[in-house]
Protein backbone atom coordinates (compact mmCIF):
# COMPACT_ATOMS: atom_id res chain seq x y z
CA UNK A 1 0.00 0.00 0.00
CA UNK A 2 1.57 3.28 -1.10
CA UNK A 3 1.15 6.39 0.94
CA UNK A 4 0.49 9.57 -1.00
CA UNK A 5 0.32 13.18 0.13
CA UNK A 6 -2.85 14.84 -1.12
CA UNK A 7 -5.25 17.61 -0.14
CA UNK A 8 -8.66 16.74 1.29
CA UNK A 9 -10.73 17.77 -1.71
CA UNK A 10 -8.50 15.76 -4.07
CA UNK A 11 -8.63 12.74 -1.77
CA UNK A 12 -12.43 12.67 -1.93
CA UNK A 13 -12.27 12.76 -5.72
CA UNK A 14 -9.67 10.01 -5.95
CA UNK A 15 -11.49 7.81 -3.43
CA UNK A 16 -14.75 8.26 -5.32
CA UNK A 17 -13.22 7.24 -8.65
CA UNK A 18 -11.51 4.25 -7.05
CA UNK A 19 -14.86 3.29 -5.51
CA UNK A 20 -16.35 3.18 -9.01
CA UNK A 21 -17.98 6.60 -9.21
CA UNK A 22 -18.48 7.20 -12.92
CA UNK A 23 -20.80 10.17 -12.90
CA UNK A 24 -20.09 13.51 -11.30
CA UNK A 25 -21.95 16.78 -11.77
CA UNK A 26 -21.02 19.95 -9.92
CA UNK A 27 -20.99 23.72 -9.90
CA UNK A 28 -18.12 25.94 -8.75
CA UNK A 29 -18.17 27.15 -5.13
CA UNK A 30 -15.35 27.80 -2.68
CA UNK A 31 -13.93 26.01 -0.66
CA UNK A 32 -14.62 22.80 -2.63
CA UNK A 33 -13.52 23.78 -6.16
CA UNK A 34 -10.49 21.48 -6.12
CA UNK A 35 -12.84 18.51 -5.91
CA UNK A 36 -14.86 19.59 -8.96
CA UNK A 37 -11.62 20.27 -10.82
CA UNK A 38 -10.19 16.89 -9.80
CA UNK A 39 -13.26 15.16 -11.21
CA UNK A 40 -13.03 17.19 -14.44
CA UNK A 41 -9.42 16.13 -14.89
CA UNK A 42 -9.75 12.48 -13.91
CA UNK A 43 -13.22 11.43 -15.10
CA UNK A 44 -12.03 11.87 -18.68
CA UNK A 45 -9.31 9.27 -18.21
CA UNK A 46 -11.46 6.50 -16.69
CA UNK A 47 -13.62 4.30 -18.88
CA UNK A 48 -17.23 5.38 -18.85
CA UNK A 49 -16.46 8.43 -16.70
CA UNK A 50 -18.80 11.39 -17.04
CA UNK A 51 -18.09 14.87 -15.73
CA UNK A 52 -20.59 17.70 -16.19
CA UNK A 53 -20.18 21.26 -15.00
CA UNK A 54 -23.85 22.00 -14.47
CA UNK A 55 -25.65 25.31 -14.80
CA UNK A 56 -26.59 25.25 -11.12
CA UNK A 57 -26.45 23.18 -7.96
CA UNK A 58 -30.06 22.26 -8.63
CA UNK A 59 -29.25 20.91 -12.08
CA UNK A 60 -26.24 19.00 -10.68
CA UNK A 61 -28.27 17.09 -8.11
CA UNK A 62 -30.96 16.24 -10.67
CA UNK A 63 -28.33 15.06 -13.13
CA UNK A 64 -27.06 12.61 -10.53
CA UNK A 65 -30.66 11.57 -9.82
CA UNK A 66 -31.00 10.66 -13.49
CA UNK A 67 -27.65 8.89 -13.70
CA UNK A 68 -28.31 7.02 -10.45
CA UNK A 69 -31.62 5.73 -11.78
CA UNK A 70 -29.74 4.53 -14.85
CA UNK A 71 -27.43 2.53 -12.57
CA UNK A 72 -24.29 4.67 -12.38
CA UNK A 73 -22.37 5.32 -9.17
CA UNK A 74 -22.89 9.05 -8.73
CA UNK A 75 -21.55 11.97 -6.74
CA UNK A 76 -22.00 15.72 -6.49
CA UNK A 77 -20.30 18.19 -4.20
CA UNK A 78 -20.72 21.73 -3.01
CA UNK A 79 -20.42 24.01 -0.01
CA UNK A 80 -23.11 25.29 2.34
CA UNK A 81 -25.16 27.70 0.16
CA UNK A 82 -24.98 25.25 -2.74
CA UNK A 83 -26.08 22.36 -0.53
CA UNK A 84 -29.21 24.35 0.35
CA UNK A 85 -30.02 24.42 -3.36
CA UNK A 86 -29.52 20.67 -3.67
CA UNK A 87 -32.09 19.84 -1.00
CA UNK A 88 -34.94 19.39 -3.49
CA UNK A 89 -32.98 16.64 -5.21
CA UNK A 90 -31.77 15.04 -1.97
CA UNK A 91 -35.39 14.75 -0.79
CA UNK A 92 -36.23 13.27 -4.18
CA UNK A 93 -33.40 10.71 -3.95
CA UNK A 94 -34.52 9.66 -0.48
CA UNK A 95 -38.13 9.32 -1.66
CA UNK A 96 -37.19 7.50 -4.88
CA UNK A 97 -34.71 5.31 -2.97
CA UNK A 98 -31.84 6.20 -5.27
CA UNK A 99 -28.24 5.87 -4.10
CA UNK A 100 -25.72 8.69 -4.41
CA UNK A 101 -23.04 10.60 -2.53
CA UNK A 102 -23.25 14.30 -1.72
CA UNK A 103 -20.21 16.12 -0.38
CA UNK A 104 -20.62 19.28 1.69
CA UNK A 105 -17.40 21.19 2.38
CA UNK A 106 -19.00 23.58 4.86
CA UNK A 107 -18.23 27.30 5.04
CA UNK A 108 -19.29 30.20 7.26
CA UNK A 109 -23.04 30.80 7.03
CA UNK A 110 -26.01 31.60 7.05
CA UNK A 111 -26.67 33.38 3.76
CA UNK A 112 -23.62 33.75 1.57
CA UNK A 113 -21.53 33.83 4.74
CA UNK A 114 -17.84 33.49 3.95
CA UNK A 115 -15.40 30.88 2.72
CA UNK A 116 -13.86 29.96 6.09
CA UNK A 117 -14.31 26.54 7.72
CA UNK A 118 -17.49 26.13 9.77
CA UNK A 119 -19.91 23.50 11.07
CA UNK A 120 -23.18 25.38 10.75
CA UNK A 121 -24.89 22.82 8.50
CA UNK A 122 -25.23 20.08 11.14
CA UNK A 123 -28.97 20.54 11.54
CA UNK A 124 -29.55 20.62 7.78
CA UNK A 125 -27.45 17.50 7.21
CA UNK A 126 -28.76 15.37 10.09
CA UNK A 127 -32.45 16.34 10.03
CA UNK A 128 -32.99 15.51 6.38
CA UNK A 129 -32.43 19.03 5.07
CA UNK A 130 -35.08 19.05 2.38
CA UNK A 131 -38.83 18.68 2.71
CA UNK A 132 -40.43 15.57 4.08
CA UNK A 133 -39.93 12.73 6.49
CA UNK A 134 -36.50 11.37 5.61
CA UNK A 135 -32.92 11.12 6.83
CA UNK A 136 -29.57 11.16 5.14
CA UNK A 137 -26.62 9.09 6.36
CA UNK A 138 -23.96 11.65 7.34
CA UNK A 139 -20.25 10.89 7.68
CA UNK A 140 -18.03 13.41 9.47
CA UNK A 141 -14.39 12.62 8.66
CA UNK A 142 -11.69 14.21 10.82
CA UNK A 143 -8.54 13.12 8.97
CA UNK A 144 -7.51 12.82 5.36
CA UNK A 145 -7.36 9.05 5.81
CA UNK A 146 -10.98 9.12 6.90
CA UNK A 147 -11.91 11.28 3.92
CA UNK A 148 -10.61 8.46 1.72
CA UNK A 149 -12.11 5.57 3.71
CA UNK A 150 -15.49 7.13 4.43
CA UNK A 151 -15.95 8.35 0.85
CA UNK A 152 -15.54 4.74 -0.32
CA UNK A 153 -17.84 3.46 2.44
CA UNK A 154 -20.40 6.12 1.51
CA UNK A 155 -20.87 4.59 -1.95
CA UNK A 156 -21.35 1.12 -0.45
CA UNK A 157 -23.89 2.29 2.12
CA UNK A 158 -25.76 4.33 -0.48
CA UNK A 159 -26.18 1.14 -2.53
CA UNK A 160 -27.01 -1.16 0.38
CA UNK A 161 -29.74 1.14 1.71
CA UNK A 162 -30.64 2.81 -1.60
CA UNK A 163 -30.41 6.23 -0.06
CA UNK A 164 -28.33 9.40 -0.37
CA UNK A 165 -25.22 9.59 1.83
CA UNK A 166 -23.51 12.84 2.76
CA UNK A 167 -19.85 13.51 3.50
CA UNK A 168 -19.91 16.50 5.87
CA UNK A 169 -16.53 18.18 6.12
CA UNK A 170 -15.45 21.81 6.17
CA UNK A 171 -13.10 24.18 4.37
CA UNK A 172 -10.21 23.14 6.61
CA UNK A 173 -10.67 19.45 5.80
CA UNK A 174 -11.01 20.24 2.11
CA UNK A 175 -7.83 22.27 1.92
CA UNK A 176 -5.41 20.48 4.26
CA UNK A 177 -2.86 17.89 3.17
CA UNK A 178 -2.02 14.62 4.90
CA UNK A 179 -0.55 11.32 3.80
CA UNK A 180 -3.21 8.83 2.85
CA UNK A 181 -3.49 5.18 1.79
CA UNK A 182 -6.37 4.25 -0.51
CA UNK A 183 -7.90 0.95 0.51
CA UNK A 184 -9.08 -1.62 -2.00
CA UNK A 185 -12.70 -0.91 -2.89
CA UNK A 186 -15.29 -3.62 -2.36
CA UNK A 187 -17.01 -4.96 -5.49
CA UNK A 188 -20.30 -3.19 -6.08
CA UNK A 189 -23.46 -4.98 -5.00
CA UNK A 190 -26.47 -3.27 -6.49
CA UNK A 191 -29.19 -5.13 -8.30
CA UNK A 192 -30.09 -4.26 -11.87
CA UNK A 193 -33.76 -4.53 -10.88
CA UNK A 194 -33.47 -1.08 -9.29
CA UNK A 195 -32.10 0.49 -12.48
CA UNK A 196 -33.94 2.00 -15.42
CA UNK A 197 -32.15 0.79 -18.52
CA UNK A 198 -35.01 0.46 -20.97
CA UNK A 199 -37.66 -2.25 -20.76
CA UNK A 200 -36.16 -4.43 -23.51
CA UNK A 201 -38.72 -7.10 -24.36
CA UNK A 202 -40.01 -7.08 -20.79
CA UNK A 203 -42.27 -5.08 -18.55
CA UNK A 204 -41.58 -1.37 -18.22
CA UNK A 205 -40.70 0.13 -14.83
CA UNK A 206 -41.05 3.55 -13.34
CA UNK A 207 -39.53 5.42 -10.43
CA UNK A 208 -41.56 8.18 -8.84
CA UNK A 209 -42.13 9.97 -5.56
CA UNK A 210 -45.66 11.18 -6.36
CA UNK A 211 -47.99 9.03 -4.28
CA UNK A 212 -51.40 10.67 -4.33
CA UNK A 213 -53.18 8.22 -2.06
CA UNK A 214 -52.47 9.32 1.52
CA UNK A 215 -52.58 5.77 2.89
CA UNK A 216 -50.05 4.63 0.29
CA UNK A 217 -47.87 7.67 0.96
CA UNK A 218 -48.06 6.92 4.67
CA UNK A 219 -46.91 3.36 4.02
CA UNK A 220 -44.01 4.67 1.93
CA UNK A 221 -43.02 6.93 4.84
CA UNK A 222 -43.12 4.00 7.26
CA UNK A 223 -41.11 1.88 4.82
CA UNK A 224 -38.42 4.56 4.79
CA UNK A 225 -38.64 4.88 8.58
CA UNK A 226 -38.04 1.13 9.01
CA UNK A 227 -34.99 1.44 6.78
CA UNK A 228 -33.70 4.35 8.90
CA UNK A 229 -34.23 2.24 12.02
CA UNK A 230 -32.02 -0.50 10.58
CA UNK A 231 -29.37 2.07 9.63
CA UNK A 232 -29.48 3.46 13.17
CA UNK A 233 -28.97 0.00 14.62
CA UNK A 234 -26.19 -1.10 12.26
CA UNK A 235 -24.23 1.85 10.92
CA UNK A 236 -23.40 4.10 13.87
CA UNK A 237 -19.69 4.96 14.12
CA UNK A 238 -17.71 6.87 16.73
CA UNK A 239 -14.25 7.16 18.24
CA UNK A 240 -13.32 7.39 21.92
CA UNK A 241 -9.94 8.92 22.75
CA UNK A 242 -8.46 8.78 26.24
CA UNK A 243 -11.86 8.25 27.85
CA UNK A 244 -10.72 5.31 30.07
CA UNK A 245 -9.69 7.50 32.99
CA UNK A 246 -11.41 10.74 31.91
CA UNK A 247 -13.08 13.11 34.35
CA UNK A 248 -14.22 15.37 31.50
CA UNK A 249 -15.08 14.33 27.94
CA UNK A 250 -15.15 16.77 25.05
CA UNK A 251 -17.72 15.86 22.37
CA UNK A 252 -16.66 17.13 18.95
CA UNK A 253 -16.58 16.01 15.30
CA UNK A 254 -14.51 16.80 12.22
CA UNK A 255 -12.14 19.75 12.44
CA UNK A 256 -13.40 20.58 15.95
CA UNK A 257 -12.36 17.09 17.09
CA UNK A 258 -8.83 17.69 15.77
CA UNK A 259 -8.63 20.90 17.78
CA UNK A 260 -9.98 18.98 20.78
CA UNK A 261 -7.19 16.41 20.55
CA UNK A 262 -4.63 19.22 20.68
CA UNK A 263 -6.40 20.70 23.69
CA UNK A 264 -6.52 17.31 25.43
CA UNK A 265 -2.75 16.92 25.02
CA UNK A 266 -2.22 20.28 26.77
CA UNK A 267 -4.75 19.53 29.52
CA UNK A 268 -3.23 16.14 30.28
CA UNK A 269 0.24 17.71 30.49
CA UNK A 270 -1.29 19.79 33.28
CA UNK A 271 -2.69 16.72 35.02
CA UNK A 272 -6.29 17.06 33.88
CA UNK A 273 -7.87 13.80 32.77
CA UNK A 274 -9.77 14.85 29.67
CA UNK A 275 -10.94 12.61 26.83
CA UNK A 276 -12.77 12.92 23.52
CA UNK A 277 -15.97 11.36 22.20
CA UNK A 278 -16.04 11.85 18.44
CA UNK A 279 -19.14 10.92 16.43
CA UNK A 280 -18.07 9.69 12.97
CA UNK A 281 -21.64 9.25 11.78
CA UNK A 282 -23.66 12.35 12.68
CA UNK A 283 -26.82 10.64 11.53
CA UNK A 284 -27.26 8.08 12.87
CA UNK A 285 -25.84 9.78 15.97
CA UNK A 286 -24.02 7.40 18.37
CA UNK A 287 -26.53 8.20 21.08
CA UNK A 288 -26.43 4.90 22.97
CA UNK A 289 -22.62 4.76 22.96
CA UNK A 290 -22.50 8.22 24.48
CA UNK A 291 -25.10 7.29 27.10
CA UNK A 292 -23.08 4.19 27.97
CA UNK A 293 -20.03 6.38 28.51
CA UNK A 294 -22.06 8.50 30.92
CA UNK A 295 -22.09 5.55 33.35
CA UNK A 296 -18.38 6.31 33.88
CA UNK A 297 -18.04 9.98 33.04
CA UNK A 298 -20.44 12.64 34.30
CA UNK A 299 -18.92 15.84 32.87
CA UNK A 300 -19.10 16.77 29.17
CA UNK A 301 -18.13 19.74 27.04
CA UNK A 302 -19.59 19.98 23.53
CA UNK A 303 -17.34 21.89 21.16
CA UNK A 304 -18.51 22.93 17.70
CA UNK A 305 -17.68 25.50 15.03
CA UNK A 306 -21.28 26.68 15.37
CA UNK A 307 -23.59 28.20 17.99
CA UNK A 308 -24.56 24.74 19.16
CA UNK A 309 -26.23 22.23 16.86
CA UNK A 310 -24.82 18.79 17.69
CA UNK A 311 -25.39 20.02 21.24
CA UNK A 312 -29.06 19.07 20.77
CA UNK A 313 -28.15 15.45 20.01
CA UNK A 314 -25.78 15.32 22.98
CA UNK A 315 -28.59 16.62 25.19
CA UNK A 316 -30.97 13.97 23.83
CA UNK A 317 -28.35 11.35 24.72
CA UNK A 318 -27.19 12.72 28.08
CA UNK A 319 -29.81 15.03 29.57
CA UNK A 320 -30.43 13.78 33.07
CA UNK A 321 -27.40 11.49 32.92
CA UNK A 322 -24.54 14.00 33.02
CA UNK A 323 -23.52 17.68 33.06
CA UNK A 324 -23.23 19.26 29.61
CA UNK A 325 -21.29 22.44 28.82
CA UNK A 326 -20.80 24.08 25.44
CA UNK A 327 -18.16 26.06 23.61
CA UNK A 328 -18.81 27.27 20.07
CA UNK A 329 -17.03 29.46 17.49
CA UNK A 330 -19.40 29.98 14.52
CA UNK A 331 -18.98 32.09 11.41
CA UNK A 332 -15.72 30.69 10.10
CA UNK A 333 -13.58 31.20 13.21
CA UNK A 334 -11.19 28.32 13.91
CA UNK A 335 -9.94 28.56 17.49
CA UNK A 336 -6.60 27.19 18.68
CA UNK A 337 -6.23 24.11 20.87
CA UNK A 338 -4.91 26.51 23.56
CA UNK A 339 -8.20 28.42 23.60
CA UNK A 340 -10.22 25.24 23.89
CA UNK A 341 -7.88 23.96 26.60
CA UNK A 342 -8.56 27.13 28.65
CA UNK A 343 -12.31 26.71 28.27
CA UNK A 344 -12.13 22.99 29.06
CA UNK A 345 -9.96 23.65 32.13
CA UNK A 346 -12.61 26.01 33.55
CA UNK A 347 -15.27 23.38 32.90
CA UNK A 348 -13.06 20.72 34.48
CA UNK A 349 -12.55 22.72 37.67
CA UNK A 350 -16.25 23.62 37.88
CA UNK A 351 -17.24 19.99 38.16
CA UNK A 352 -15.01 19.34 41.14
Amino acid sequence: MTKVLMSGNNIIGEAAIRAGCRFYAGYPITPQNELTEYMAEHMRTVEGGVFIQSESEIAAIHMIVGASSAGARVMTSSSSPGISLKQEGISSMAANELPGVIVNIMRGSPGLGNIRPSQGDYFQATRGGGHGDYRTIVFAPATCQELADLTMNAFDLADIYRTPVMILADGMMGQMMEPVVFKKPKPRQYSEKFMLRGAGQGKSKFIRSLILDAIDMEEHNWKLARKYQIITEKETLHEEYKTEDAELVIVAYGTAARIAKGAIKRLRENGMKVGLFRPITLWPFPELKLRTLSKKVKNYLVFELSTGQMLDDVRLALQGYADIGFHGRPGGVVPTPAELANVAARHYEKAD
Binding site: S54, A59, S69, K205, R208
Partner: protein
Protein backbone atom coordinates in the same frame (compact mmCIF):
# COMPACT_ATOMS: atom_id res chain seq x y z
CA UNK B 1 -59.45 -11.57 -44.25
CA UNK B 2 -59.90 -8.42 -42.22
CA UNK B 3 -56.89 -6.13 -42.10
CA UNK B 4 -56.20 -4.19 -38.90
CA UNK B 5 -55.93 -0.52 -39.78
CA UNK B 6 -55.97 1.13 -36.41
CA UNK B 7 -55.14 -0.01 -32.89
CA UNK B 8 -53.72 1.16 -29.58
CA UNK B 9 -49.98 1.80 -29.84
CA UNK B 10 -47.94 -0.90 -28.07
CA UNK B 11 -46.06 1.78 -26.14
CA UNK B 12 -49.28 2.93 -24.46
CA UNK B 13 -50.54 0.95 -21.47
CA UNK B 14 -54.14 -0.23 -21.28
CA UNK B 15 -55.21 2.70 -19.15
CA UNK B 16 -57.74 5.47 -19.58
CA UNK B 17 -56.25 8.98 -19.61
CA UNK B 18 -57.13 11.23 -16.68
CA UNK B 19 -56.89 14.28 -18.93
CA UNK B 20 -59.88 16.61 -19.38
CA UNK B 21 -62.01 16.25 -22.53
CA UNK B 22 -60.44 18.22 -25.36
CA UNK B 23 -56.97 18.33 -23.79
CA UNK B 24 -53.95 18.09 -26.08
CA UNK B 25 -51.96 15.85 -23.75
CA UNK B 26 -53.94 12.73 -24.70
CA UNK B 27 -53.33 13.29 -28.40
CA UNK B 28 -49.65 14.04 -27.84
CA UNK B 29 -49.19 10.96 -25.64
CA UNK B 30 -50.64 8.85 -28.42
CA UNK B 31 -48.39 10.45 -31.02
CA UNK B 32 -45.26 9.90 -28.94
CA UNK B 33 -46.27 6.26 -28.36
CA UNK B 34 -46.96 5.72 -32.07
CA UNK B 35 -43.56 7.18 -32.93
CA UNK B 36 -41.81 4.96 -30.36
CA UNK B 37 -43.58 1.93 -31.89
CA UNK B 38 -42.76 2.91 -35.46
CA UNK B 39 -39.09 3.53 -34.67
CA UNK B 40 -38.94 0.22 -32.77
CA UNK B 41 -37.36 1.83 -29.70
CA UNK B 42 -39.78 0.86 -26.91
CA UNK B 43 -37.23 -1.40 -25.24
CA UNK B 44 -34.46 1.20 -25.17
CA UNK B 45 -36.49 4.31 -24.39
CA UNK B 46 -36.50 6.02 -21.00
CA UNK B 47 -38.99 8.84 -20.46
CA UNK B 48 -38.99 11.64 -17.91
CA UNK B 49 -42.44 12.98 -16.95
CA UNK B 50 -42.75 16.42 -15.35
CA UNK B 51 -44.63 17.94 -12.46
CA UNK B 52 -47.77 19.27 -14.11
CA UNK B 53 -50.79 17.75 -15.83
CA UNK B 54 -48.58 15.01 -17.31
CA UNK B 55 -47.17 14.03 -13.92
CA UNK B 56 -48.84 10.63 -14.24
CA UNK B 57 -47.45 9.95 -17.72
CA UNK B 58 -45.76 6.82 -16.34
CA UNK B 59 -49.25 5.35 -15.97
CA UNK B 60 -49.72 5.65 -19.73
CA UNK B 61 -46.38 5.17 -21.49
CA UNK B 62 -45.25 1.56 -21.50
CA UNK B 63 -41.57 2.49 -21.37
CA UNK B 64 -39.19 2.91 -18.42
CA UNK B 65 -39.79 6.27 -16.74
CA UNK B 66 -38.23 8.40 -14.01
CA UNK B 67 -40.39 11.21 -12.72
CA UNK B 68 -38.52 14.50 -12.44
CA UNK B 69 -39.03 17.24 -9.90
CA UNK B 70 -40.74 20.37 -11.23
CA UNK B 71 -38.72 21.82 -14.11
CA UNK B 72 -35.73 19.49 -13.71
CA UNK B 73 -36.61 17.14 -16.57
CA UNK B 74 -33.77 18.14 -18.90
CA UNK B 75 -31.19 17.83 -16.08
CA UNK B 76 -32.57 14.43 -15.06
CA UNK B 77 -32.70 13.33 -18.69
CA UNK B 78 -29.11 14.54 -19.14
CA UNK B 79 -28.04 12.29 -16.27
CA UNK B 80 -29.76 9.25 -17.77
CA UNK B 81 -28.49 9.90 -21.30
CA UNK B 82 -24.88 10.50 -20.29
CA UNK B 83 -24.92 7.36 -18.16
CA UNK B 84 -26.57 5.31 -20.94
CA UNK B 85 -25.66 6.99 -24.24
CA UNK B 86 -27.21 4.22 -26.36
CA UNK B 87 -30.69 4.63 -24.85
CA UNK B 88 -33.34 7.01 -26.19
CA UNK B 89 -34.26 9.57 -23.55
CA UNK B 90 -37.10 12.04 -23.71
CA UNK B 91 -38.37 14.68 -21.33
CA UNK B 92 -42.07 15.57 -21.46
CA UNK B 93 -42.82 19.03 -20.07
CA UNK B 94 -45.41 21.75 -19.80
CA UNK B 95 -44.91 25.48 -20.19
CA UNK B 96 -44.55 26.33 -16.49
CA UNK B 97 -42.22 23.38 -16.03
CA UNK B 98 -40.02 24.20 -19.02
CA UNK B 99 -40.21 27.98 -19.44
CA UNK B 100 -40.58 29.20 -15.82
CA UNK B 101 -39.19 27.07 -12.99
CA UNK B 102 -37.09 24.91 -15.31
CA UNK B 103 -35.90 27.47 -17.86
CA UNK B 104 -32.27 27.16 -16.71
CA UNK B 105 -32.26 23.36 -17.03
CA UNK B 106 -33.97 23.51 -20.46
CA UNK B 107 -31.85 26.35 -21.80
CA UNK B 108 -28.56 24.74 -20.78
CA UNK B 109 -29.49 21.25 -21.92
CA UNK B 110 -30.31 22.85 -25.28
CA UNK B 111 -27.09 24.86 -25.23
CA UNK B 112 -24.99 21.78 -24.46
CA UNK B 113 -26.71 20.09 -27.38
CA UNK B 114 -27.61 17.17 -25.13
CA UNK B 115 -28.67 14.29 -27.30
CA UNK B 116 -32.16 14.13 -25.80
CA UNK B 117 -35.66 14.91 -27.05
CA UNK B 118 -37.99 17.35 -25.31
CA UNK B 119 -41.74 17.24 -25.89
CA UNK B 120 -42.99 20.65 -24.80
CA UNK B 121 -46.72 21.21 -24.24
CA UNK B 122 -47.57 24.92 -24.47
CA UNK B 123 -51.15 25.55 -23.38
CA UNK B 124 -50.61 29.10 -22.10
CA UNK B 125 -51.68 28.21 -18.57
CA UNK B 126 -50.81 26.18 -15.46
CA UNK B 127 -53.30 23.37 -15.91
CA UNK B 128 -52.94 21.01 -12.97
CA UNK B 129 -52.93 23.72 -10.32
CA UNK B 130 -56.10 25.26 -11.68
CA UNK B 131 -55.38 27.81 -14.37
CA UNK B 132 -52.79 30.29 -13.14
CA UNK B 133 -50.65 32.48 -15.41
CA UNK B 134 -47.92 30.56 -17.25
CA UNK B 135 -44.82 32.12 -18.81
CA UNK B 136 -46.57 31.53 -22.14
CA UNK B 137 -49.91 33.13 -21.16
CA UNK B 138 -50.99 35.65 -23.80
CA UNK B 139 -51.16 39.36 -23.09
CA UNK B 140 -54.63 40.25 -21.75
CA UNK B 141 -55.43 36.56 -21.23
CA UNK B 142 -57.42 36.07 -18.03
CA UNK B 143 -56.16 33.44 -15.62
CA UNK B 144 -56.77 32.91 -11.90
CA UNK B 145 -53.65 34.96 -11.10
CA UNK B 146 -54.23 37.56 -13.83
CA UNK B 147 -57.93 38.22 -13.20
CA UNK B 148 -57.75 41.45 -15.18
CA UNK B 149 -55.73 39.81 -17.96
CA UNK B 150 -51.95 39.46 -18.32
CA UNK B 151 -50.47 42.91 -18.00
CA UNK B 152 -47.20 43.43 -19.87
CA UNK B 153 -45.99 46.02 -17.37
CA UNK B 154 -46.54 43.81 -14.35
CA UNK B 155 -46.27 40.31 -15.77
CA UNK B 156 -43.99 40.60 -18.77
CA UNK B 157 -44.56 38.96 -22.13
CA UNK B 158 -45.27 35.43 -23.37
CA UNK B 159 -41.98 33.52 -23.42
CA UNK B 160 -41.07 32.21 -26.86
CA UNK B 161 -39.08 29.08 -26.30
CA UNK B 162 -38.44 27.99 -29.92
CA UNK B 163 -37.45 31.52 -30.97
CA UNK B 164 -35.12 31.93 -27.98
CA UNK B 165 -33.50 28.50 -28.25
CA UNK B 166 -33.03 28.94 -31.99
CA UNK B 167 -30.47 31.66 -31.19
CA UNK B 168 -28.27 29.06 -29.49
CA UNK B 169 -25.73 27.00 -31.40
CA UNK B 170 -26.41 23.92 -29.27
CA UNK B 171 -29.82 22.66 -30.42
CA UNK B 172 -30.18 20.68 -33.62
CA UNK B 173 -33.91 20.53 -34.24
CA UNK B 174 -36.66 22.87 -32.99
CA UNK B 175 -40.21 22.89 -34.32
CA UNK B 176 -43.53 24.33 -33.14
CA UNK B 177 -46.69 22.45 -34.07
CA UNK B 178 -50.24 22.13 -32.79
CA UNK B 179 -52.81 19.36 -32.41
CA UNK B 180 -56.05 21.24 -33.02
CA UNK B 181 -57.09 19.53 -36.29
CA UNK B 182 -56.53 16.18 -38.04
CA UNK B 183 -54.05 17.81 -40.43
CA UNK B 184 -52.12 19.49 -37.63
CA UNK B 185 -52.04 16.20 -35.67
CA UNK B 186 -50.39 14.50 -38.66
CA UNK B 187 -47.85 17.32 -38.87
CA UNK B 188 -47.17 17.12 -35.16
CA UNK B 189 -46.48 13.40 -35.47
CA UNK B 190 -43.99 14.01 -38.25
CA UNK B 191 -42.19 16.57 -36.08
CA UNK B 192 -42.09 14.24 -33.07
CA UNK B 193 -40.77 11.43 -35.25
CA UNK B 194 -38.09 13.68 -36.66
CA UNK B 195 -37.09 14.78 -33.17
CA UNK B 196 -36.64 11.16 -32.01
CA UNK B 197 -34.83 10.32 -35.25
CA UNK B 198 -32.49 13.23 -34.57
CA UNK B 199 -31.57 11.65 -31.24
CA UNK B 200 -31.29 8.14 -32.68
CA UNK B 201 -28.84 9.45 -35.27
CA UNK B 202 -26.81 11.05 -32.47
CA UNK B 203 -27.34 14.54 -33.85
CA UNK B 204 -28.09 16.36 -30.61
CA UNK B 205 -30.83 18.31 -28.86
CA UNK B 206 -34.32 18.21 -30.34
CA UNK B 207 -37.47 19.92 -29.04
CA UNK B 208 -41.03 19.90 -30.34
CA UNK B 209 -43.31 22.58 -28.93
CA UNK B 210 -46.97 21.69 -29.17
CA UNK B 211 -49.65 24.40 -28.91
CA UNK B 212 -52.16 22.41 -26.97
CA UNK B 213 -55.82 23.14 -26.19
CA UNK B 214 -56.85 23.46 -22.54
CA UNK B 215 -60.64 23.96 -22.70
CA UNK B 216 -61.05 23.57 -18.94
CA UNK B 217 -58.76 26.40 -17.92
CA UNK B 218 -59.45 28.54 -20.98
CA UNK B 219 -63.13 28.18 -20.05
CA UNK B 220 -64.09 27.30 -23.62
CA UNK B 221 -65.65 24.39 -25.42
CA UNK B 222 -63.21 21.98 -27.04
CA UNK B 223 -64.10 23.32 -30.47
CA UNK B 224 -63.67 26.94 -29.37
CA UNK B 225 -60.29 26.03 -27.81
CA UNK B 226 -59.08 24.56 -31.11
CA UNK B 227 -60.27 27.70 -32.86
CA UNK B 228 -58.51 29.94 -30.31
CA UNK B 229 -55.21 28.27 -31.16
CA UNK B 230 -55.68 29.22 -34.84
CA UNK B 231 -57.03 32.69 -34.23
CA UNK B 232 -55.05 33.90 -31.23
CA UNK B 233 -52.33 31.62 -29.91
CA UNK B 234 -50.58 30.78 -33.16
CA UNK B 235 -50.40 34.51 -33.98
CA UNK B 236 -48.18 34.98 -30.90
CA UNK B 237 -46.50 31.59 -31.33
CA UNK B 238 -46.18 31.02 -35.07
CA UNK B 239 -45.97 27.38 -36.17
CA UNK B 240 -43.00 26.09 -38.08
CA UNK B 241 -39.44 24.82 -37.98
CA UNK B 242 -37.20 27.18 -36.02
CA UNK B 243 -34.03 25.22 -36.44
CA UNK B 244 -33.11 22.14 -38.42
CA UNK B 245 -29.40 21.44 -38.44
CA UNK B 246 -29.83 17.71 -38.86
CA UNK B 247 -28.29 17.55 -42.33
CA UNK B 248 -25.41 19.84 -41.40
CA UNK B 249 -24.61 17.92 -38.21
CA UNK B 250 -24.88 14.59 -39.99
CA UNK B 251 -22.34 15.40 -42.71
CA UNK B 252 -19.20 15.85 -40.59
CA UNK B 253 -20.33 12.92 -38.45
CA UNK B 254 -20.50 10.70 -41.53
CA UNK B 255 -17.24 12.01 -42.91
CA UNK B 256 -15.52 11.14 -39.64
CA UNK B 257 -16.81 7.56 -39.57
Amino acid sequence: MAKKLFSRPKSLKEAGFHYCPGCGHSITHRLVAEVIDELGIRGITIGVPPAGCAVLAYNYFDVDMLEAQHGRGPATATGIKRALPDRIVFSYQGDGDLAAIGIAESFHAANRGENITVIFINNAVYGMTGGQMAPTTMLDQKTTTTPAGRNKTLDGYPVKVCETFSQLKGPTYLERVTVNSPASVNKAKKAIKKAFQCQMDGLGFSLVEILSPCPTNWKMTSVAACKWIDEVMSKEFPLGVFKDNMAAVKKPAEAAS
